[in-house]
């Protein structure tokens, strides 16, 4: 709901802000997903953070997921710390939107740790322009 409200605000703004790229080119705002698993790697790099996660599907197979997020400067402003906030071995669940190409790639919005802590990891869907 929050995302919807924010998206509306952005549409109303005279000059909508956009992230580095057009969200809609790569991701589908109509395909939200929540994935639970264990972090295997974090790339704290510009123009977007990526983190990798192993999740076990219903068949007991391990799926290797990759998620995109904010750039480091914006993560830091939200309280993230490199190598500390999110690290290999962390058990998390991540809310994201799937890539259009059907791969195990998604654009993350929020990470929830096993202790219940939540942090925003990426912008709301659709802020990159036309959907």
């Amino acid at each position: 709901m929050k995302s919807i409200v924010l998206a509306s605000v952005l549409l109303l703004a005279g000059l909508p802000v956009v992230a580095h790229h057009s969200f809609a080119a790569e991701y589908d705002g109509e395909k939200p997903i929540t994935v639970k698993g264990v972090i295997t790697k974090v790339d704290w790099a510009n123009p977007h953070m990526h983190f990798y996660l192993d999740a076990t599907n219903d068949k007991g197979e391990v799926e290797h997921w990759k998620f995109e997020g904010y750039p480091p400067n914006m993560l830091v402003r939200q309280g993230w710390k490199k190598d500390m906030t999110l690290k290999a071995g962390d058990h998390i669940s991540v809310f994201a939107w799937l890539a259009r190409d059907g791969s195990k790639l998604a654009h993350s919005r929020e990470v929830t740790w096993s202790d219940g802590k939540k942090m925003q990891s990426g912008p709301p869907a659709g802020t990159g322009g036309a959907n």
């Binding site: 109303l12 000059l15 802000v17 057009s22 080119a25 510009n46 990526h50 190409d101 990159g128 322009g129």
Partner: protein, 256 residues
């Protein structure tokens, strides 16, 4: 008696704390725009929860002006729609290029203004962009090479800094997906520090090659106390561009 005096002092202190400081001014009496500022949507830049916490005292941020649709000529409007149909995959910003003006002002990253006699300096976190803007009355040079950020001169009209930008290339977008322009673009920006923590930003975009008339937009720029301009090196690990190339090769909708 003593407690009463203390009470009065405390009340005065509290009253002072709740009053917004006046707009600072430089020695020549002009508003001093110096500081770290955030244009566009604060919420997007720092998160909804944080934005709520730093919302200016006295209520919600000013309502944005009703956006005016860009007055593209018919052929140009079709081209914009083509860009939109391609979901912004052609966005120059996604290639880590400088985003031009006024788009730089809508980036979700702050910028610093430093005002000194005869010059105003804009230092943007996004894309290492900067502008050294003369305010000493000089005109645009006559040997401008077209560029992403154009050539800028400025002057004061009352309390408003009026910024005139020409000399653009045609490789940036103005704001939303597909909002292209030609190298005849002329941008006029008006920065008015309406109170201590707010600049009203009025921008007029004129381009006889693609528009039927001027395109005017307004947004609000907020002071970011305790913030500093950090680094954003877009080219470090731009995986998007690799994925874009893959999409362009494999997705039927992108084949020309």
């Amino acid at each position: 008696m003593k407690p009463i005096v203390i009470g009065i002092i405390l009340a005065a202190a509290l009253s002072f704390a709740q009053t917004k400081p006046p707009v600072p001014r430089t020695a020549d009496g002009k508003p001093d725009l110096s500081g770290v500022w955030q244009g566009g949507s604060l919420s997007f830049a720092i998160g909804e929860a944080n934005a709520a916490r730093v919302a200016p005292a006295g209520g919600a941020p000013a309502a944005p002006a009703k956006p005016q649709a860009a007055p593209y000529q018919e052929w140009a409007a079709k081209k914009v729609q083509e860009f939109r149909d391609r979901r912004g995959i052609d966005d120059p910003m996604a290639r880590c290029l400088m985003v031009g003006i006024p788009r730089i002002t809508s980036m979700p990253m702050p910028f610093q203004i430093t005002q000194v006699p005869g010059q105003v300096l804009f230092l943007y976190e996004a894309f290492h962009s900067f502008r050294i803007i003369p305010t000493d009355g000089r005109k645009h040079p006559d040997d401008i090479e077209s560029s992403f950020m154009g050539d800028t001169v400025a002057h004061w009209e009352g309390d408003t800094l009026v910024v005139d930008v020409i000399g653009f290339n045609d490789k940036t977008w103005l704001s939303t997906v597909g909002s292209f322009h030609s190298d005849k673009l002329h941008v006029t920006e008006r920065y008015t520090r309406v109170d201590f923590d707010t600049i009203t930003y009025d921008v007029t975009m004129e381009d006889p090659e693609v528009f039927t008339g001027p395109w005017k937009q307004r947004s609000t720029i907020r002071l970011r106390p305790n913030e500093r301009v950090r680094e954003y090196e877009c080219g470090e690990n731009n995986e998007d561009i690799v994925r874009f190339e893959s999409i362009l090769k494999t997705d039927e909708r992108y084949k020309r």
